[in-house]
C-alpha cells in the first residue's frame, strides 16, 4: 500500500499540485522578476488562473467552484508563492478574502448574482477590514453604515487593501467591506461603480509583494443596496473570525512556498559554488544554514498541512492553530530566505538569483492577515481556555 502523503492526501490534491506547478514553471516564473521591479500587477496572467478553475477552489461544484478543501487552497498558495509571492497575494485576496468569504456568508440570490463574475475572473475582488487608524484593533474601526430606506450609506476609509487597485488609476471591481452598523459589525458587497466609492492613495514603494497592488479606498455616502448586506446586521464579526482562519492558513502556505524555494536554491548553489578549491557545501557553517533551513521548513510545513486538513471552512473555532501555524511559518520563511541569501553571498543580494525578492516578500507575512503579536495574543487567550488541546 502506498504510504500516506500528508502534503498530497488524495490523488486530486497531487494532480492539483502538478497542474499548478507546471503552470507556475511555464507562465508565472518568467514574469515574476520584472513585475516586482516595475511594481505592476499582471492582470492578464491573473485571469488565466480562472481557466484553471482556481478562483472558486473552495466553492462547491454546484455554485461553479471546484468544491475542494483547505488543503487544496494551501497547495495552490504554496506553489504560486514558491515563484511569485506578490502575484500569489493578489490571488489570496481575490479567492480567499473575497470569493470564499463571500460564498460562506452570502444567501443564494447573492451567490447567483456575484459568484459567476468573480469565479470567471471578469471581476477582481478584495476585502476591506483595515483602516488608517485601526488594524489589529479591528473593533476600533470607524467606517460606519447607516440604513435609509433600501440603501445603506457607507462612510469611512479602508487602508492597505490588496486588489484595491489594478493599476495606477483603476480600482478593483468588488469588495467585501466591514463596517459598523447600529447593531454591531456588518459586512457589505460593494461594487466600485457604486456612487460614493473612490480610489484613495495608490500605495507605492512596498518593501515586497510588489506584484500585487495595495490601495486606500474611500467611501463617502457610498450607496449600497440593502440586498448587498451579507447575513443579518451585526453578524459579521463571526464572518470575519471564520475567514481569518483560512486567510492565516493560506498565508502560512505562502510562507512554506517561499521557504521551500529558498532551500532548493541554496542547496543547489552550495553544491555548485566553490571556494578554497571545494564546493561551499563542504563547509560546516554552510551545512548548518542548509540543514537548519530544511528542518525548520519541514516542521512548519507539517504543522501547516495538519492544520489545513482539520480546518472546517464553515465554522470558526480553529484559531489556535490557524494563528499558531502562521506564527511559526512566517518567521521561519523570513529566516530561511535570509539563510539562503547568506549562502549565496553577494549574488544572493541581486534580483536575478530570486532569493532577494523572496526575502523582501517574506516580511509581509509577519504583518498582513494579523501581526505576530496578534497571534500571540489570540493563542494565549485560546490556550488558557482550552489547555486540553495539548493532550
Amino acid at each position: 500500500m502506498p504510504v500516506f502523503d500528508l502534503f498530497n492526501p488524495s490523488e486530486e490534491h497531487a494532480m492539483l499540485r502538478r497542474t499548478v506547478r507546471e503552470f507556475v514553471r511555464d507562465q508565472v516564473e518568467p514574469q515574476a522578476l520584472v513585475h516586482d521591479q516595475q511594481e505592476r500587477f499582471n492582470l492578464p496572467l491573473f485571469r488565466q488562473l480562472a481557466s484553471l478553475g482556481l478562483f472558486g477552489i473552495t466553492v462547491p461544484l454546484e455554485y461553479g467552484g471546484a468544491g475542494m478543501d483547505a488543503v487544496a487552497a494551501v497547495i495552490v498558495h504554496e506553489e504560486l508563492s514558491a515563484s511569485d509571492p506578490g502575484f500569489c497575494l493578489a490571488y489570496l485576496a481575490h479567492s480567499m478574502l473575497f470569493v470564499n468569504n463571500f460564498y460562506r456568508n452570502a444567501n443564494d440570490e447573492q451567490r447567483r448574482r456575484y459568484l459567476p463574475k468573480v469565479i470567471s475572473g471578469d471581476w477582481i475582488g478584495g476585502m476591506c477590514m483595515t483602516e488608517p487608524s485601526a488594524g489589529t484593533d479591528v473593533l476600533g474601526m470607524k467606517t460606519f453604515a447607516v440604513r435609509r430606506g433600501d440603501y445603506y450609506y457607507l462612510n469611512g476609509r479602508k487602508m492597505f487593501i490588496t486588489n484595491g487597485a489594478l493599476d495606477d488609476t483603476t480600482p478593483g471591481d468588488i469588495f467585501l467591506v466591514y463596517a459598523k452598523t447600529e447593531k454591531g459589525i456588518s459586512s457589505f458587497v460593494v461594487e466600485s461603480r457604486f456612487p460614493g466609492f473612490s480610489l484613495g492613495q495608490r500605495l507605492h514603494h512596498k518593501t515586497g509583494m510588489r506584484a500585487s497592488m495595495t490601495a486606500e479606498l474611500v467611501f463617502e455616502d457610498c450607496a449600497v443596496p440593502v440586498e448587498n448586506r451579507l447575513g443579518e446586521e451585526g453578524e459579521s464579526l463571526l464572518h470575519m473570525m471564520r475567514n481569518l482562519e483560512i486567510e492565516r492558513v493560506t498565508i502560512a502556505a505562502m510562507a512554506t512556498g517561499i521557504a521551500g524555494r529558498c532551500v532548493e536554491i541554496m542547496t543547489r548553489y552550495a553544491s555548485e559554488r566553490t571556494a578554497y578549491g571545494q564546493p561551499i557545501n563542504s563547509f560546516g557553517q554552510i551545512q548548518r544554514y542548509i540543514a537548519d533551513s530544511y528542518a525548520q521548513y519541514m516542521a512548519a510545513r507539517t504543522y501547516l498541512y495538519h492544520t489545513a486538513s482539520k480546518l472546517d471552512l464553515d465554522r470558526p473555532g480553529q484559531r489556535i492553530d490557524s494563528d499558531g501555524v502562521k506564527l511559526v511559518a512566517t518567521t521561519m520563511a523570513k529566516q530561511v530566505a535570509d539563510n539562503a541569501m547568506q549562502v549565496l553571498g553577494g549574488y544572493g543580494y541581486f534580483g536575478e538569483y530570486v532569493v532577494e525578492r523572496l526575502w523582501r516578500d517574506a516580511k509581509l507575512l509577519e504583518i498582513g492577515g494579523g501581526t505576530l503579536e496578534a497571534h500571540q495574543k489570540n493563542i494565549t487567550k485560546d490556550l488558557t481556555r482550552r489547555l486540553d488541546v495539548i493532550r
Binding site: E11, M15, T19, F23, L52, G53, L61, A66
Partner: protein, 249 residues
C-alpha cells in the same frame, strides 16, 4: 467521432537521468513520471477535434504497470472521456505495443487513433507505423496540422526540409509532432470530474497475443560528459575558432 489516444508513462524530461552502473537500464528511484509530451499533444488534439465537432468520444489507452493510471487520470482531467489500462509488467518492444494496440482497436473500433510520434524515453518512433501496418490502415506521421474535410482527413506533416500535406479516408492513424498544438493544463474542475471517470483495466494475457520482444536492450551508456567551455575575448576570435578548431563554419 470516436478517437483513441495512446498515453505512455515516461520519466519527466526535466529529471536528471542516471544510467545504472551495469548498463542494464536507468536508475528509477526518485524519478518523477509524466505523460509522454507527444501523447499529451495527441490528447489535446483529440479534445479539440471533439470540441469543434461538438460530439464524439475520446478514449485513452495506456500499457504498463498499475501506476500508469496516474497519467491516465491526468488525461481524463484534461477532458478525455474514459480510459483503458492494459496491465503488463513485462518489457515490450514497439511491435509488442503495436500488437496490443491492434487488439484494443479491434475492440473499440475508433474512427481515428492519435499517437505521439515517439515516446521520449526510448525514442523508438515505430509503434504508430507498426500499428498502421498491422491494421492495414492509412497513417500520417509527424503531424503539425490536422483538418477534417467531407470524407477524409488532411494532415500537414513536418518532414526534413519542409512540409508535406497528405489526405486519407478514416479510419486511420495520426502521430503528432511538437508544433501541432499547445496542450492545456488540467483544470481544477476537470480534476474533480476525472475522479468519476472510468479506467478499465485489462490484463495483457486476456488479449491472447504473443508479445515476446524481438528486440532486447543490450546495454545503456550515459552520454559523454561535456568538456568545459572556453571563453573568448572577441567575436573575431570566436569566428576564428569556429573555423579552425570546431570546424563548423
Amino acid at each position: 467521432m470516436k478517437i483513441l489516444v495512446t498515453v505512455k508513462r515516461v520519466p519527466d524530461p526535466e529529471t536528471t537521468i542516471r544510467v545504472k552502473p551495469d548498463g542494464s537500464g536507468i536508475v528509477t528511484d526518485n524519478i518523477k513520471y509524466v505523460i509522454n509530451p507527444f501523447d499529451e499533444i495527441a490528447i489535446e488534439e483529440a479534445l479539440r477535434i471533439k470540441e469543434k465537432q461538438g460530439q464524439g468520444e475520446v478514449v485513452l489507452v495506456s500499457i504498463g504497470a498499475k501506476v500508469a493510471s496516474e497519467q491516465l487520470r491526468t488525461g481524463l482531467a484534461m477532458g478525455a472521456d474514459r480510459a483503458i489500462l492494459v496491465l503488463c509488467d513485462q518489457e515490450l518492444d514497439s511491435l509488442g505495443v503495436a500488437r496490443i494496440l491492434a487488439k484494443i482497436v479491434e475492440k473499440e473500433a475508433p474512427d481515428l487513433v492519435l499517437m505521439g510520434k515517439q515516446a521520449i524515453d526510448d525514442d523508438a518512433n515505430q509503434a504508430g507505423q507498426m500499428l498502421a501496418a498491422l491494421l492495414n490502415w492509412p497513417q500520417a506521421t509527424f503531424a503539425s496540422k490536422v483538418e477534417f474535410m467531407d470524407n477524409y482527413v488532411q494532415v500537414v506533416r513536418e518532414v526534413d526540409g519542409g512540409l508535406e500535406t497528405v489526405r486519407f479516408p478514416l479510419p486511420g492513424i495520426i502521430t503528432t509532432d511538437l508544433r501541432l498544438n499547445e496542450p492545456r493544463y488540467a483544470s481544477l474542475p476537470g480534476i474533480m470530474k476525472a475522479r468519476k471517470k472510468e479506467i478499465r483495466e485489462i490484463a495483457v494475457a486476456e488479449l491472447g497475443i504473443d508479445t515476446t520482444p524481438l528486440l532486447t536492450v543490450h546495454k545503456m551508456d550515459p552520454p559523454a560528459k561535456k568538456a568545459a567551455g572556453k571563453k573568448v575575448e572577441s567575436v573575431q576570435e570566436l569566428v576564428h575558432l569556429l573555423h579552425t578548431e570546431a570546424k563548423v563554419i
